[in-house]
Symmetry: D2
Subunit: 357 residues, 4 copies
């Protein structure tokens, strides 16, 4: 009988439970009895040996629930290599927990940083199967991560609701969406919600072009303008600063978020009222959309198939509509950015959407 | 054949179109042919004679749509009595438009301030029927305004989604909801969403009590705390300032909203991470919930019944589950506040919810 | 320390869990420690002593969940007085369970039939507090039952979706909704969804009038007609049959539901394609709407308040927006029907809706 | 200035308007002024010269609306070659309308049958660009059709709601979903909704295996069983009949739908109560999900790009997450069926789902 560890790491997202359910249902069918150990709050649970023994019953009824039944925490990769406040070597501690529980395999659900740690554990000799979790869709190697379409769904609903109220008054609306480094959520929700302007980290904006796009709409008799803005959107000017200079500038900035800063700049330049909406962590919450539940169930089952074959060291990915795998050493640590030359960006421009570039 | 003017005034909300559809469908049944004149952007359209002639067709298919097909604008009552920049007397201008179009009646959909202007026009001799619009539910005399339950629905969905993500991490979440002067939306959404702490303008909070409530939850092993905070929530300290002093204090405040200020204070006092979500104008947008569509249709039809009977000068209201009327002079200008002694507040406290008082 | 029994009886609905959570949270605040015994599958659990001891933890996180954590079953009142297959006297058995567990009070969440049994148990000397559950809103004495607005929400969403597809083709659509004896759900959802024709049990229809209403729409150039039909809708002809005659007729009817029968009749009479949609039990399922969660939480807490005061034998009700009580002997066994003279029916007619009468 | 015709054909679906909006927005950007002619009710409008001249304004605000602003109708391919009741040659009539309006290109949004007619018109010398519309996802050559994910969304919500009510009682629930010939919607919604048994046309079922699967769940202490059944699901026995024999059998069948028939068979075999839910045309209605809006916008814009390049005779398709094209002669008339060997079917079986095969 195999003994399987499992953990969810990094920011939570909508389809973590559905994915774990897929793993366990798959193991039930393919392996019959297995022992499942769930680590609490991500790698922290593995480091400090904080876990619970789980039964099939624990995974029943969680296909549709948000969050993670295991809890999660952010454990940046660079901290993994430094001892904790008591001098504990975290990597050795994780290996020790794995050995102590005599695990056959560790299933890791995580985003980019968590995949790096997963690969580190693989290098240290642990059997790893990992699963592509993130609302940001920024994991290199997979066409789609679970959580992404659910986040896009909520972000789009926000823009939808702003649309009706925007059309009643004569205003500019800024919807600030998740994405510090990558703009996938903002790009997809912006197209799906019919935003007029989309600002994302990968395509720095020129404030004058943003203002011009708003004025052009006014000239064409449009009653309102909606901007979908990633929280990591950056001006061309700021994009040329060093990381240090930019942080210094942020610290001095009057407004805590890019949305409020843009609002102030646009009000000054156009005289129009600007309103800001920040759905924030709602983008990570609630029940996953059916699309995510399907890919999560499939990816989860595929993890069980790998475990049944004892084929370890892989990240499960979506390639088109197929589930397949990539070796962890190839994917770990690589981000998938929006490129200004991506087909979808050019198509968005052909829809008349301005990126302020 | 009667000639009816119609306008929507003040902040928009979800069921304005459903209400106007009710008026027009009712007139079709009760009066046969009527002429409908819709004023653009609220009282502004009446002042400057900006209107369009509408047919039944214009009101078809709008039962479920957000916003208002007429547009709206805020025209504070106190400005009504002062001439515009060209010296135009606004009240006389509105009367002139009414006479010019030879209207039998003016139907006004508006909140508290708009009702005051409605009553003014009544005093000036116009035939008025008015309808209780506002997401804030703060119109004195009616048990329920249309828009309110739709706003509560969206606000509650926001808290719901935060719940799952809050339970995955170990954090405090602040959901800042609409309500500058009154707390009805926050109170209802807070109960419906299972918030742990509710802060509203009518019940000033003591920061120490808020902190204590959070710490008590931690001591009881709760993983997270959710605060539903009205944008007009105020501390006991600030509530004792004069209006002028309070404005001066706000101007100097580092954080633009009460949510961010509380977040900073709680982080400092507890050491816990705090996240802020501001659904903002989404609370006014999107399709009305069925509850609102039903009362809007009924209130709208009841307006048509009054017009058929030429019974003017009334505000239509909900009393329990009946539609009835109040004379405009009795209701105009009065706000309906949450009282600390309201049954629902005591019941919320018995549910274990803290108001920080 | 008080010992409280609790059960949910009859058809399930959306806000049962929210209500029980309200009771338990209220008891925690008002009574401190209490012992809660939950009976499994309604009165059956009370009869056969099938229960579980529940803690506050069991009621955490269930504010938003559908169904009932206790399970439920239909136990018609008339069967309560007849012994079971083993000759067991059910009433005596329920009393025995109550005495064995030494309960202070039994909290009963149920609809009309369940309230009759509740009153019977009161007459037999048990301390009862009961709560008005049903999607049908047909409990006499209360303005509103919990579950109703949630059912209306789903029924309305069904009509909404049919609307867009109906407008694309040129068809008649029948949406068959829940309600064997009463038409509240169909009436409210019909108004909220903009149905053209509403057929309910309380207002028998004349098929010719239904056909005429459809033809009139065609003559006015309308592309489609939508009928909201309660599953218990009945023609004038059939309404005059004896119960026995009607049952005999139903048994011979080719179509299993009134929706399919009407579809066939309308197709024959108009030559138009007719489509039938039956959302069925979805109307009982899923998360309760915020409106229901608020009244459930309030009613539940109010039950705790009665228990704290040892004020038994009452049904908790909504009167307008207040929670209050009625003695069980006054309400048990009475249904609240739609009357053709109700304000809301007349208003629906003034909206141009045909009831086929 | 180019002159473009456009039509929507076959059963309607959720993202038709979003797609047409994409075409027109793309033409605005790429071509500047164009003349758009919309044919009413699909090919019928083209045959009988029933059209309207459309402006950009007509395509504003329709990104989120269900149905089609042009109307649609089913015009089976085999009827295209036969003259109408007045002896009119339909193909020649369509060509005549095209020539009369001096069109540069005809944009066709349609499913399998409509694509065959599109290809016929191409063979007859018309410039065609066609777009892959259908909730059924059964168009050969494209990974995904628009409408599909929206239909899956609604079908899944139906199963979700049944889940909570199923868990409260002890019952079998059948959710009958769209799909006469192909099972994609049922397969995806079944996985996403956590159905226990999935029956689709491509995998004929053995009733004994279905019954066994239900009994096995009961033995494992499961409270309920949910079946997702495509309306075209067929038993192994019936699958061996000739088309004619099967139709004769259907005509004699007591129950109008496979769902009700299965319900009766399962009730007889297991003694359990069975309930049937038929969301029907709701699966085609309402606002498209963001996923569909994004691919619709992209496919629409890509059609505009083809028109700008005068690159005709193509079907636009999704290949993974890219938009690309296939020659119409290669795709027209081919259906994409679920295969029992598809990865997703095997994965579903590994999740423990029975296909009754």
């Amino acid at each position: 009988m195999k003994r399987i560890g499992m953990l969810t790491s990094g920011g939570d997202c909508q389809s973590l439970n559905a994915t774990m359910r897929g793993v366990v249902k798959g193991l039930n069918v393919l392996e019959g009895n297995v022992e499942i150990y769930g680590f609490i709050d991500g790698y922290k649970g593995l480091i400090y040996g904080n876990y619970k023994r789980l039964t099939s019953q624990d995974f029943s009824g969680i296909l549709t629930t948000g969050g993670t039944i295991l809890g999660t925490s952010r454990q940046p990769f660079k901290l993994m290599r430094t001892p904790d406040e008591n001098g504990l070597d975290k990597v050795e501690a994780m290996k020790a927990t794995y050995r102590y529980l005599d695990l056959d395999c560790l299933v890791i659900l995580g985003g980019n940083g968590s995949q790096k740690t997963a690969n580190l554990l693989r290098e240290e000799g642990l059997n790893i199967v990992s699963l592509p979790k993130t609302i940001d869709n920024d994991l290199w190697g997979t066409d789609m991560t679970f959580g992404f379409q659910s986040a896009v769904d909520i972000a789009t609903q926000t823009i939808d609701r702003i649309h009706t109220t925007a059309a009643s008054h004569n205003r500019v609306f800024i919807v600030e969406l998740m994405g510090h480094k990558v703009g996938w959520v903002t790009l997809h929700a912006g197209i799906a919600g019919g935003a007029d302007i989309i600002l994302i980290p990968e395509i720095p904006y020129d404030l004058r072009h943003v203002i011009e796009a708003i004025k052009r709409r006014n000239e064409h008799g449009k009653q309102f303008t909606i901007l979908a803005v990633a929280e990591g959107a950056i001006s061309k000017e700021d994009a040329q600063l060093s990381k240090k200079q930019y942080k210094a500038k942020l610290a001095k900035r009057k407004y805590s978020t890019v949305g409020y800063e843009l609002a102030s700049q646009i009000e000054k330049a156009t005289g129009q009222e600007v309103r800001v909406t920040i759905p924030g962590h709602t983008q990570r919450g609630g029940s996953p959309v059916p699309f995510d539940r399907v890919i999560s169930s499939r990816l989860g089952v595929a993890a069980a198939e790998l475990i049944a074959k004892e084929d370890y060291g892989k990240l499960l990915i979506m390639k088109g509509y197929d589930v397949t795998t990539l070796p962890l050493e190839k994917t770990a640590g690589k981000l998938k950015y929006v490129s200004p030359d991506d087909q979808i960006v050019l198509q968005a421009k052909h829809l008349g959407i301005s990126f302020g570039d």
